[in-house]
């Protein structure tokens, strides 16, 4: 089952093409990451999926049903955590979640249980009666999430849910996202934070100027830009190193010695780090430090777009 599918989707704001003829498929059960710089079109894509923005051309399916034909079906199956916190300051945490859940048609005991469940999920159950404007930034972010999950949607969309909060709340949110996924929800996650996307997403698409420029698991994405790994080994003395022996190790592509550091480049698909270390120890060369250099998504992004994710 495809949780979300775009078919040649285009969205314009005047002359600006915010989503440019995009095809996309998100499988059920995935934690799918949208990675892209400011203005890439991430929020626009999300606002289209949840029915806030109209489609200029193309089609969008949610759970394999056209959202234009069955908007309520799509809305019922989606819970969206908007980029900008959307809660009522003059309402308590409980009242906030309850209000939005009731707009999905929940009522009575089901409503109460769902609200309790959602608040507990984000760890705000003991602050349920606090007015939201008394909350810290991190607590507001968590309430923002609770408001999106009380109606138990199959697809949960989080648009930069960790912007501007303390590390503790951030970890809590990341854990929550994983838990939601384990409980059976498909998650769509956008972020500037490379580490977050790397840590939780099972599949990632890199978006820029309204286009998907690369898509895959993080390993697939990394292999797009490079097929090698680099190990930097710092030793006490390079005098006794036999370059030929090192080169003979399976997978090693090149060696470069610079002062006390040996830079060894190997093919990615071969794991030979144990053999390399074995060479040094068996030849009696004392290792002071080992550093591996695998390209991160930041590098992938930089290579693909020529831009940094955050300026």
């Amino acid at each position: 089952m495809k949780a979300v599918k775009f078919e040649r989707l285009t969205k314009r704001f005047g002359d600006l093409v915010a989503i440019d003829n995009v095809n996309l498929e998100i499988e059920e059960g995935e934690i799918y990451g949208f990675l892209g710089p400011n203005g890439a079109g991430k929020s626009t894509a999300i606002n289209i999926i949840c029915g806030l923005l109209k489609i200029d051309s193309g089609k969008v399916y949610v759970m394999e049903r056209d959202i234009k034909r069955e908007p309520d079906f799509a809305k019922m199956n989606i819970g969206v955590v908007p980029q900008d916190i959307a809660i009522y300051g003059e309402l308590s945490a409980y009242e906030n979640v309850s209000f939005f859940a009731s707009l999905y048609g929940l009522k009575g005991r089901e409503l109460k249980e769902s609200v309790d469940m959602a608040l507990e999920f984000v760890g705000l159950q003991d602050k349920a009666n606090w007015m939201a404007n008394k909350f810290s930034g991190g607590m507001k972010r968590r309430l923002n999430i609770a408001c999106a999950i009380a109606h138990k949607p199959k697809i949960i969309i989080l648009d930069e849910p960790t912007v501007g909060i303390d590390p503790q709340s951030r970890n809590h949110i990341l854990e929550s996202v994983k838990k939601l996924n384990e409980m059976g929800s498909t998650v769509i996650y956008t972020s500037h934070y490379m580490e977050e996307v790397e840590a939780i997403c099972t599949k990632i698409s890199i978006i820029d100027h309204g286009k998907i420029i690369a898509e895959g698991t993080k390993e697939e994405l990394k292999s797009i830009i490079t097929d090698t790994n680099t190990v930097m080994i710092t030793v006490t003395s390079v005098a006794n190193i036999d370059e030929n022996k090192l080169k003979a190790i399976n997978g090693v592509k090149s060696i470069d010695i610079d002062e006390n550091t040996v830079k060894i480049v190997s093919y990615r698909d071969v794991s030979n780090l144990d053999k390399i270390i074995h060479y040094f120890t068996s030849d009696g060369i004392a290792i002071k430090n080992i550093e591996t250099q695998t390209p991160d998504l930041e590098t992938v992004f930089l290579t693909l777009t020529g831009r940094k994710l955050r300026d």
Partner: protein, 373 residues
């Protein structure tokens, strides 16, 4: 159902907001108390019926003349003075220019009666108008009976004294005191300021992003719009009740005997104000601009509409300006119902309020048709 949920949330928020409660409840309470106190000497509470004078020209048929003379006799016993004028033009002129304290001018022509009103002094004029109407009704009955069944005419007392005393006392019982007057006009004024509640109701959804969040639920745009209008209107209505209770029981202001009709007029004004505010909320992305406009315009409308002093005696350009102030009709309708038992302006006021509201809501719905908030 969703409309009610949205409305209920709005009310909750309004009643929790100290700012809104101070502005919508405390502010008018303080104003009506201060103004009532400050102007208590300039308002004349006693209304002496002996001050009323009326002019007339008698070109009527024999029967009408006869009946009218009896009517005049009855009225003079009550203290209303009648002056006969020969020239119709001069009578009309006297009424128009209030040469002396002339409440109206009556012309008898054949079997018709024409009444020229002095619309500057509504209490006096209403007394005369009401008893004149009663006379006309009686006279018509008599005339019909005479035509159909001349024999039975003697049984009906054509020439006897009419019992106008009751009607007159009903009308002349009160003239608003300063507390009465400002209780009414400050309440209607603050309801006009209630349009700011309407602006805020839309704008806060935009600022807090909650409007868009509502749109991602199953709530439809028309449900949101209706819920907003209903919620804001009910909030202002409940706040008005608090203000009313204060004026009624603390200031002991008089609101007349027909609170239901007055409530209807008030509700129509609330719907007018809220619709205006909601429309402005959609029109201007920035609530500062929208409420700035409202804050700049309302003092004029209020001044022209008689919020601070009576505009019943207005003449010329000022009267014309005051007539286009929507709150004038609301004020005058309420004052007339409460103090003169006169319902002439009620329907007009309600229609003006609701017709404007309809236009505003229509425009708001049109502006809301675009994407998102």
């Amino acid at each position: 159902m969703r409309v009610l949920k949205i409305a209920l949330r709005e009310i909750k928020e309004n009643f929790r907001s100290k700012k809104a409660m101070v502005f919508m409840v405390l502010f008018p309470i303080v104003l009506m108390t201060i103004l009532g106190f400050a102007f208590s000497n300039t308002f004349n509470g006693d209304h002496k019926i002996s001050n009323i004078s009326v002019e007339y020209t008698d070109n009527g048929s024999k029967e009408l003349s006869k009946g009218f003379n009896n009517f005049v006799d009855s009225c003079e016993k009550l203290g209303i003075r009648f002056h006969e004028v020969k020239e119709i033009a001069s009578g009309i002129n006297d009424v128009r220019n209030v040469k002396y304290n002339c409440a109206g001018y009556i012309v008898l022509r054949g079997n018709n009666i024409v009444f020229y009103k002095n619309d500057r002094d509504f209490v006096d004029t209403n007394i005369v108008e009401t008893i004149l109407k009663t006379f006309v009704d009686r006279f018509n009955v008599v005339a019909v009976v005479a035509k159909e069944n001349p024999q039975s005419l003697s049984k009906i007392n054509v020439s006897g004294n009419y019992d106008f005393a009751e009607i007159v006392s009903l009308n002349s019982e009160r003239q608003p005191s300063s507390y009465d007057y400002y209780s009414i006009t400050m309440l209607t004024l603050i309801i006009l300021y209630g349009s700011i509640s309407g602006i805020y109701s839309i704008n806060s959804e935009r600022v807090r992003n909650t409007g868009n969040r509502m749109l991602t639920t199953l709530a439809k745009k028309h449900e949101i719009l209706l819920g907003k209008i209903l919620g804001s209107s009910l909030s202002v209505f409940l706040q008005s009740i608090l203000v009313f209770l204060y004026s009624r029981f603390i200031l002991k202001a008089y609101w007349g005997n027909d609170i239901y009709t007055i409530t209807l007029i008030i509700i129509s004004e609330i719907i007018f104000s809220i619709s205006l505010g909601i429309c402005l909320g959609f029109l201007f992305k920035n609530s500062g601009v929208a409420s700035g406009i409202v804050n700049a315009i309302i003092p004029f409308i209020a001044f022209l509409g008689g919020s601070y002093f009576s505009v019943d005696a207005a003449v010329g350009l000022f009267k014309n300006l005051s007539d286009i102030s929507p709150i004038k009709w609301t004020n005058s309708a309420i004052l007339n119902v409460a103090f003169a038992n006169n319902y002439n302006d009620v329907l007009l006021a309600i229609i003006i309020n609701l017709a404007c509201a309809f236009v505003f809501v229509f425009l708001a719905a049109y502006l809301f048709r675009k994407e998102a908030f």
